[in-house]
């Protein structure tokens, strides 16, 4: 945030450098003196956890790429070469494969945290939309990464998803063949997916920088959803307060992550992906990775192909319009008794769609997917706009400091008065 840098270069060289490229000052103002609301809870550590996961994925991915070969006849064997013959190759691959799942677990928590505390509302619309763009890039990256081992699910998943574009009228087939680089998913597809899978994470990193920039410009939202009134009373400096809390959150998340890597590394994967890709044999059920399942359910719930594709993409696109669809002036669900209930219903619906996406598209599952898909859109397009008009929110605290005071009683005022002096 501008105007909060307290960085004073120490010594001649530091002053010389700072006057030419003030990067140390920039880092100091973003990661040391940056004021964070003091009422942030542990749900707010997921931003740091996601940054860590992006780093983990890029690092492990770059090393994996040194041992991998994108060539359809041998890619499956190259991945097994990594698993068997490369020193700690099994560890790298399990980190990377499970890391993708962990990345999505963290991003879903991060998104739902934003939904609960209304973090998308003015002045944070651009921050939120940048987040939606990161999420889209993540989906593209993860999808293409899953194709690289060239197993049965890689091949058939790629076939199903790329075929979605054939629903576009007139030019659909041309677009799909252009995506494939041929007349079916094949070696050209694998190679371009590898190139893009290597490129996109760096684009994600770029948008993450914009995301953090926008965040630091407008300041963080917080569980009470009221703006910072006084930096001295409402905030604490990022370091050491947020740093130590974020690092603790990251290490706890690493514990969770390690449990998957070392004890159930194939839990998130599909056994069919240990069968080499075979264009002549279609798996009984083609299932995408778990993090795509809610959207897969939406896709299949619409009886028309183009309609299904449009519904699926709209389900993501509608998130970008959320700042204007939610008409309530109050941010946090803490002070919105009705929204809080609809939030939890929506969360259950989203998980339910995920379950339905993993089931065969038949009988009762189709009916259930249609109901939940309808609700998904009703939540954004009808409930949220109306709720802001009819809901009577609870009275908001005058400031973050007041909210904290109300929760803890008067005994801790002394400490709350001058936290910034402790930085």
């Amino acid at each position: 945030m501008e105007g909060h840098s307290t960085y004073q270069p120490q010594g001649k060289i530091a002053r010389w450098f700072e006057s030419r490229l003030p990067i140390v000052g920039l880092l100091h103002s973003s990661a040391v003196s940056y004021p964070t609301p003091k009422n942030l809870n542990y749900w707010y550590t997921f931003g740091a956890i996601l940054t860590m996961m992006l780093g983990v994925q890029i690092l492990s991915g770059v090393v994996l790429a040194m041992h991998y070969t994108a060539f359809a006849p041998i890619s499956f064997a190259r991945v097994e070469h990594i698993m068997r013959d490369v020193s700690f190759g099994w560890l790298l691959r399990y980190i990377h494969a499970n890391g993708a799942s962990m990345f999505f677990i963290a991003v879903y928590i991060h998104i739902f945290r934003g939904l609960y505390y209304g973090s998308y509302k003015a002045p944070r619309e651009v921050l939120w939309i940048l987040g939606v763009i990161i999420y889209l890039l993540m989906m593209a990256t993860a999808f293409m990464g899953y194709v690289l081992p060239w197993g049965q699910m890689s091949y058939w998943g790629a076939t199903v998803i790329t075929n979605l574009f054939s629903a576009i009228p007139v030019v659909g087939t041309v677009i799909v063949e252009w995506l494939w680089g041929g007349y079916s998913v094949g070696d050209p597809t694998l190679n371009r997916f590898f190139a893009l899978h290597y490129l996109l994470p760096f684009m994600i990193a770029g948008v993450v920088i914009l995301h953090i920039w926008a965040l630091h410009h407008v300041g963080q939202n917080n569980p009470d959803g009221v703006e910072v009134k006084s930096v001295a009373k409402d905030t604490v400096p990022f370091t050491p307060y947020a740093t130590v809390k974020d690092i603790f959150g990251m290490v706890v998340f690493l514990l969770f992550f390690s449990y998957f890597i070392f004890y159930i590394p194939n839990y998130m994967g599909h056994p069919d992906n240990y069968i080499p890709a075979n264009p002549l044999s279609t798996p009984a059920h083609i299932v995408p990775e778990w993090y795509f399942l809610p959207f897969y359910a939406i896709l299949r719930s619409i009886p028309d192909k183009l309609g299904g594709v449009l519904a699926m993409f709209s389900a993501i696109a509608v998130l970008a319009f959320l700042p204007w669809l939610d008409t309530s002036k109050v941010r946090s669900a803490r002070y919105r008794p009705l929204y809080r209930q609809f939030f939890w219903i929506f969360a259950v619906v989203a998980v339910g769609l995920g379950y339905l996406g993993s089931q065969p598209a038949e009988g009762g599952f189709v009916i259930a997917s249609r109901i939940l898909t309808a609700y998904y859109f009703i939540h954004f397009l009808i409930i949220l706009p109306l709720l802001g008009l009819f809901e009577r929110p609870k009275p908001l605290p005058a400031s973050i400091a007041d909210a904290v005071l109300a929760r803890h009683g008067a005994t801790v005022v002394a400490g709350a008065a001058a936290p910034q002096t402790k930085g």
Binding site: V244, S258, P271, Q341
Partner: protein, 278 residues
């Protein structure tokens, strides 16, 4: 808060009540039995004797039709495996003739196998394998134990994350090998296929591959079909996941480190935030 708890309670109740109903309707008698494996759980590791017996079954029975293309003779003596010495692994390799070349005359030639050689495939190509097996291709064994599973559905798969159940593939293979039974009355088995209780669709191209007493065990283990199936399944798990022992051992060290580190960070965080109401 109260309303949220009610909602949670309702969802939890729906899940709990729904579970037995689903289990009852599914009729899960076709689900493979969950065997007890030495390599299961957080401290699991392969049983060397079992891997050696499994290797014997694989070599004398399975390998006459199934390839194992990612399996090398050198793997036999690597740590975390069946525990053969390098000399023993060399001896095994030298029993096989491998095509090598071309030599300086430009001709291919046969020589005894070496540690660096791939396990020789029984057929020169997939088509030859199909022709010899009534049109069906015997799947490669290298990662087969991870390419098979028994699906438990909801909510069993959530429990499996907590019990660290990763043995669906070996349980399936063990069940398949012991699942050759007479077809129930009224079931018509297609010509060239065989009835198996656990194979999806129940009609499998592979004839019953192994029976009691077929492979000689020298360590006193009873030479039964059940033991053969168990041992060869364990061997296939090792072939599919040769670094499993190291993974679980290192995993425990990593978990301990992270747990202690997280504890220290927790108290550091508490101290830093001591004087700030939040």
């Amino acid at each position: 808060m109260i309303k949220r708890s009610i909602l949670f309670g309702a969802v939890a109740a729906a899940l709990l009540l729904g579970a037995p109903a689903r289990a009852a309707e599914g009729g899960h008698d076709d689900l493979p039995h969950r065997e007890s494996w030495s390599f299961a759980g957080p401290f699991g590791s392969f049983d060397q004797g079992q891997l050696q017996r499994g290797f014997k079954v694989f070599r004398e029975v399975c390998a006459s039709c199934h390839s194992a293309n990612f399996f090398y003779f050198r793997n036999l003596s690597q740590p975390g495996g069946p525990g053969f010495s390098e000399a023993q692994a060399k001896a095994v390799a030298s029993e096989y003739q491998i095509t090598d070349g071309p030599n300086d005359q430009g001709e291919m030639f046969q020589r005894p196998g070496r540690l660096s050689d791939q396990w020789p495939a029984p057929f020169p190509n997939d088509q030859a394998a199909r022709v010899a097996n009534g049109g069906a291709l015997p799947p490669d064994f290298s990662v087969l134990a991870k390419a098979r599973a028994s699906h438990v559905g909801f909510p069993g798969f959530i429990l499996d994350a907590f019990t660290q159940y990763q043995e669906g593939g070996v349980d399936y293979i063990h069940a398949l090998l012991t699942g050759y039974v007479d077809p129930p009355e009224g079931t018509k088995v297609q010509p060239g296929l065989h009835y198996n209780k656990y194979f999806p669709g129940h009609q499998i191209a592979m004839p019953k591959p192994i029976s009691d007493g077929q492979v000689e065990y020298t360590d006193g283990t009873p030479a039964t079909l059940d033991n053969y199936s168990r041992d060869v399944s364990a061997f296939m798990m090792w072939m599919a996941e040769p670094h499993l022992d190291a993974r679980k051992r290192i995993g425990f060290q990593v978990m301990i480190f992270l747990f202690v580190f997280a504890g220290l960070l927790y108290f550091t965080k508490k101290k830093v935030w001591k004087d700030v109401a939040h």
